[in-house]
């Protein structure tokens, strides 16, 4: 039953690496460098576009880097490929984590904890212009991502009388810009996690939570992307871990993205002849998002395993009405959407080596993502017909001083309106990051990505003959870094220098507005210095 998957994983990674590199290298129709700034908007991808978080990969967790200590007794992250079947959290104060392994899950019931994720970067292009995300796909290289940080304060308690333990999590997130950059004494601040979770709630293995929560599974680090499940709602959930290690989770939550699709307010005279005007919500509907997830890990070999996940979501908005002119109302219909998905992964349990394959299909309301309002509806104002198909493959392999991290996805999105338009697209990316560590504290990574995109726009290929525009782009990065925590693809913190070469073909350039510098440059150089860290945060364990 136990098999060593490492050769298979190595083969898969090697194949992907070989397939990608030449493609990426092919993009270089040089264009004269110019100046200007723009935006090629990207349509919603499954995780809300505005959702800025990044974080760890499925390989992070109890599985430790070579010189790290073993996992603590805390519950290992079910989304991560754990080395063993999910153990029960012990209702006793666990052993203290290794002082040099801030990324390992903290013990339970031991009071207050602080955790954080953050990335800060200073950089620009070769002409000194400010850096900005240069990807054409929704999820591309994160080397030129904007600054972002989460600060998490957490309280853990063990309740001896019931055998339960609780965790209260409050996570604030900060997005760019930063005061030291623009001189504006303000911050783009959001409250993300704000929830209470109870484990072993009366029944061993049974857990409940309620509040505001980032609720998600495994990510693709290189793409800053949670391909199967990434929900941000206010609600609650229940989970049960069977003795076999199988875990079943159910969650339901609400959100109301700021958009007239959900809410419309109108001024009305206040009651009883009071002065002024009162704001009245004519339309005030929330979206219900619920999810169910069944996961199981089959151990393979001494530390490896195979993980399988089945996943589903239901999205629903009730009907409502809105005012189209004074005292004239129109009804807006109820709508719904579904997600079905699956993930299969394998991991060696050593040095974060893993591979994950996911497939996900979202329909109707769910196709637009969870924090978005649907656009481009059917004539009956429904989202029926909209869909998003997503297939991803990601993995990591490490041996000796070498490592290879990769990610890829293919995605189709179609909105509900009949006609193809800019927001209808097919896109995909393959990204690899080979890296080498030396002297335990330093390393250098290379990153290469090939991305391609078709949107619902056409170009006249020959007289009276049109074809969808097919854009291709290659990006090549060189990232020397210092890693105080030692080697490991998911070892942080890092301080790093970044050089990123971007090569755009003419079709890619055509996706940007007139006079956008990306519309005019076939080749771009990004140079930056930055830091990235994560430690002790529920973003990396659950």
């Amino acid at each position: 039953m136990r098999r060593d998957l490492r050769p298979l994983l190595s083969l898969a990674v090697a194949f992907l690496g070989a397939a990608v590199s030449p493609a990426a290298a092919a993009q270089s129709p040089a264009a004269p460098p110019t100046t200007s700034q723009p935006t090629a908007s990207t349509p919603p991808v499954t995780p809300a576009e505005t959702e800025p978080a990044p974080e760890d990969s499925s390989a992070v967790g109890p599985e430790a880097p070579p010189d790290a200590v073993p996992a603590t007794t805390a519950a290992p992250p079910p989304e991560a490929p754990p080395p063993t079947p999910v153990p029960e959290p012990k209702p006793t104060k666990p052993a203290a984590p290794h002082p040099h392994d801030p990324n390992s899950p903290p013990g339970l019931a031991d009071g207050f904890h602080f955790g954080s994720y953050g990335r800060v970067i200073a950089g620009g292009d070769s002409t000194g212009r400010a850096g900005r995300n240069g990807d054409i796909v929704a999820r591309g290289s994160r080397l030129d991502e904007a600054n972002y940080a989460e600060l998490e304060l957490r309280r853990e308690d063990y309740w001896k009388s019931t055998g339960a333990y609780t965790r209260i999590v409050a996570t604030t997130a900060f997005a760019t810009p930063i005061f030291h950059y623009n001189g504006q004494f303000s911050a783009a601040l959001a409250i993300r996690n704000l929830y209470l979770e109870v484990r072993n709630a009366g029944v061993k293995g049974l857990s409940f939570w309620a509040g505001s929560r980032m609720y998600r599974g495994d990510d693709i680090y290189l793409l800053d992307f949670w391909p199967l499940d990434n929900l941000n709602t206010i609600g609650g959930g229940v989970g049960y871990t069977f003795k076999t290690g199988t875990e079943l989770k159910f969650h339901a939550g609400l959100n109301q993205p700021t958009d007239p699709y959900y809410r419309q307010t109108i001024l009305r005279p206040p009651a009883y002849n009071q002065f002024g005007a009162a704001e009245v919500a004519i339309l005030d509907r929330q979206k219900l998002v619920s999810s169910i997830k069944l996961s199981h890990v089959w151990p393979v070999g001494e530390s490896g395993g195979v993980k399988g996940i089945l996943y589903g979501e239901l999205h629903y908005v009730p009907e409502g009405q809105r005012e189209v002119e004074s005292k004239v109302y129109e009804s807006v219909p109820r709508d719904k959407g579904f997600v079905g998905g699956a993930q299969v992964g394998a991991f060696t349990g050593k040095r974060s080596t893993y591979v994950n394959l996911t497939a996900r299909f979202a329909s109707g309301l769910a196709a637009y993502g969870e924090l978005n309002a649907p656009r481009q509806l059917r004539p009956d104002r429904l989202t029926t017909g909209a869909y998003e198909l997503l297939v991803t493959l990601s993995g990591n392999w490490e041996r000796g001083p070498f490592g290879l991290l990769m990610g890829s996805y293919y995605r189709q999105f179609r909105n509900a309106s009949r006609s193809l338009d800019w927001d209808d697209l097919n896109e995909g990316i393959v990204i690899v990051r080979p890296q080498v560590w030396f002297a335990k504290i330093a390393g250098v990574a290379f990153e290469a990505s090939y991305q391609a995109q078709q949107r619902g726009v056409a170009t006249e290929d020959a007289p009276n003959l049109f074809k969808p525009v097919f854009a291709q782009m290659g990006r090549f990065g060189l990232i020397p870094f210092i890693t105080p925590g030692g080697p490991g693809a998911f070892q942080r913190p890092h301080i790093r220098l970044i050089y990123l070469l971007t090569v755009r073909d003419a079709a890619t350039r055509s996706f940007y507005p007139a006079d956008d510098v990306f519309a005019r440059r076939g080749v771009d150089h990004f140079i930056g210095v930055g830091a990235e860290w994560w430690f002790g945060s529920t973003s990396y364990f659950r």
């Binding site: 397939a19 030449p22 493609a23 990426a24 290298a25 092919a26 993009q27 189209v324 002119e325 656009r375 481009q376 509806l377 059917r378 004539p379 104002r381 198909l389 297939v391 293919y410 189709q412 909105n415 509900a416 309106s417 009949r418 006609s419 193809l420 338009d421 927001d423 209808d424 697209l425 097919n426 995909g428 090939y450 391609a452 078709q454 949107r455 619902g456 726009v457 056409a458 020959a462 007289p463 009276n464 003959l465 049109f466 074809k467 969808p468 097919f470 291709q472 290659g474």
Partner: protein, 654 residues
């Protein structure tokens, strides 16, 4: 090179693995072809795309459906989705709004109508993309429907302003104290200035060209400035020739339409910039731009806006080069009818005549290119505005004497072309005039008809329902005329649902928000096909399709009258459609347009005589199939209630 090959190989493989994005119509070239046979077979349905139906939420941008001057969201997919409705009505030709990219908005009015061109190479994205337009045309052709695209060659949109005060920004100038009326002499001992209101986007015509001035006096020709404001759609005009200030006449707004110079070289009111259509490069640009839309879509004709504001030489060049270019690709019978918003029959007709200029002039015109030598050919047809005024307004609304119909029709061969242009739709223009009751530029028939009824003493004290039933009778009488008169009938969308809006933009209502039917208080469902006027119109079109005489027969007026009072024949008008290319088919159409009493086809001892032989039995297919027998000598004495009509068909043809 090697790497590039690998890349090219990988890219398609990546997409093929999961399926490519696919347009319905774009990836195969459109093979243009001739779909029309005889344009007299056509029944045109004029659609203002923005107001017809919203079929695609994807192109809804900055809509304001409660404001008639803003975009409402209709699109080509919406029209395609409603082809069942249109086919149910029986019309077989769609005339759609201009398809090209417009100025988005100007002075809080949007370019929803399509007549404010800024880029002749791109579709109006509010209406959809090229795929949608092609899909519409293809779907129409599959239903044996034709498609006519509206175009404008007189002007572009509000592309620039005249910087009259040389400050670089578009101003609306208020000058002077206003203590002295403008234009009046300065009274002795006074030196007050008059009051002047100038908008730099739309200043009044100046034959010298719009002039600049400062507080110190005249400052020479005003420079023109193309503002760049993508949000309002003031972007770089295309094709590039329209970026050249020299191709515009730059004389300001026409205010005296009787001044030929203003008419031809003045800007169209609203700041629409007049193009110098005598330039060869301009002529060629319009031919290339608009013929391309036919090549891209396989549409079947052009409705051409504002033809009277453009020189004849342009129409000679444009029509002939378009015909030649399309015919070379297999599209013949291409129909081009022009709009001269004018009641003067000779003027309207002049654009359909073979207008051969002097040899010297023709030589100059021929110097534009190396194409076939130009002839005097112009348009295939005209929008029959004189009939709109003299027949539908004067007679069918206002009960004027019916002899004006006879007189107008009698001049068709005088005022309109009698020979089909070479390579054209093949019908002499006078036989293919486009008849219409109303359109997007005039108030709907029912709007002024209502005023007429409201002011009619006979209806004083009558109920609203009684008045509205009279309105319906008036409209249906007009529809009978529309569908039986010689030429090509053109129905403005919504007429069949008794739409009744006033002047522009009130006459551009949403089809998805119908009025209550006349005499009723609750609105029917959108696109209802059971309303009385829909059913009546459908019936008329069915007879038009069934009876060749109504399509191709010659016209003979057998009764008209100058009388409008208490006389027995007041309001009677009758004509036959027979002969010509209709074989033995025969139809007699009789109207009583008098709004007060029954009238008959008889006056002062004289009775109407018709061409049908004595003893022939004619059936009124609109009047319960009541039969009438032609008397000796072709005499036919008919009595009609006020505001009514008969469509009489030989019994054997019913």
């Amino acid at each position: 090179m090697h790497v590039r090959r690998l890349s090219l190989a990988l890219a398609p493989a990546l997409l093929a693995a999961a399926g490519c994005l696919h347009f319905d119509t774009l990836e195969e070239p459109v093979k243009i072809a001739t779909h029309a046979q005889d344009w007299r077979e056509a029944v045109i349905y004029q659609v203002l795309i923005d107001r017809f139906d919203d079929g695609d939420d994807g192109n809804n941008y900055l809509l304001d459906r409660e404001n008639m001057a803003r975009y409402h969201g209709g699109d080509w997919i919406g029209l395609e989705n409603r082809l069942d409705y249109i086919q149910e009505l029986g019309v077989n030709t769609l005339w759609i709004s201009p398809v090209i990219k417009n100025i988005e908005t100007d002075a809080n009015v949007d370019g929803y109508h399509g007549y404010w061109a800024v880029d002749l190479t791109q579709p109006n994205a509010h209406f959809g993309n090229l795929d949608d337009l092609r899909s519409l045309v293809r779907a129409a052709h599959e239903r044996d429907m034709l498609v006519v695209i509206d175009i404008v060659a007189n002007h572009m949109g509000q592309l620039f302003f005249y910087d009259m005060n040389l400050n670089g920004v578009p101003d609306i100038l208020l000058q002077g104290t206003g203590t002295r009326p403008q234009g009046t002499p300065v009274p002795p001992g006074f030196d007050q200035s008059g009051f002047t209101h100038i908008t730099e986007y739309d200043p009044d015509f100046n034959p010298l060209g719009i002039q600049a001035f400062t507080s110190l006096g005249p400052a020479g020709p005003a420079p023109i400035v193309f503002p760049y404001d993508p949000k309002s759609g003031h972007v770089t005009p295309m094709p590039p020739i329209f970026q050249n200030p020299e191709i515009y006449n730059r004389r300001g707004r026409t205010f005296n339409y009787d001044d030929p110079q203003q008419l031809l070289t003045g800007d169209f009111p609203g700041g629409l910039k007049d193009v110098n259509t005598t330039r060869c490069d301009v002529k060629q640009a319009f031919v290339d731009s608009y013929a391309r839309w036919i090549e891209l879509t396989d549409a079947d004709g052009f409705r051409i806006d504002t033809v009277k504001h453009v020189e004849r030489e342009f129409w000679r060049y444009f029509t002939q080069r378009v015909r030649q270019r399309l015919a070379a690709q297999g599209k013949t019978q291409f129909f081009m009818f022009g709009e001269a918003f004018d009641g003067r029959d000779d003027l309207v007709g002049s654009f359909t005549k073979n207008d051969l200029p002097s040899d010297a002039e023709l030589a100059r015109e021929n110097s534009c290119d190396d194409g076939p030598k130009l002839t005097g050919d112009q348009l295939d047809s005209a929008f029959y505005f004189p009939q709109h005024y003299q027949v539908f307004r004067d007679v069918f609304q206002d009960a004027a004497s019916t002899d004006r119909i006879a007189n107008l029709w009698a001049n068709k061969t005088v005022n309109y072309g009698t020979v089909a242009p070479k390579d054209s739709a093949g019908i002499p223009p006078y036989k293919a005039l486009v008849n219409f009751i109303d359109n997007h530029d005039v108030a709907r028939f029912l709007y002024f008809a209502r005023q007429r009824v409201d002011n009619d003493p006979a209806f004083a004290g009558k109920s609203l329902r009684d008045k509205e039933l009279r309105l319906r009778a008036m409209l249906q009488n007009a529809l009978l005329m529309l569908m039986t008169a010689e030429g090509v009938p053109c129905l403005y969308y919504g007429t069949e649902l008794e739409y009744r809006g006033g002047n522009d933009p009130s006459n551009r209502e949403d089809m998805w928000r119908p009025y209550p039917y006349l005499g009723e208080s609750a609105a029917p469902p959108a696109f209802d096909t059971t309303g009385p006027t829909f059913v009546f119109t459908k019936k008329l079109i069915e007879y038009r399709k069934k009876l060749a005489a109504l399509r191709r027969g010659d016209t003979k007026v057998v009764w008209s009258t100058t009388r409008t009072g208490d006389e027995t024949d007041a309001g009677i008008f009758a004509f036959e459609r027979a002969g010509g290319e209709a074989g033995n088919n025969y139809v007699l159409v009789v109207f009583n347009t008098n709004q007060n009493h029954d009238s008959r086809t008889q006056f002062d001892g004289a009775t109407m005589t018709v061409s049908a032989p004595a003893g022939a039995v004619l059936v009124d297919v609109l009047g319960g199939n009541k039969k009438y027998t032609v008397g000796a000598g072709g005499v036919l004495d008919l009595t009609l209630p006020p505001v009514s009509g008969m469509l009489l068909v030989p019994q054997q043809d019913v």
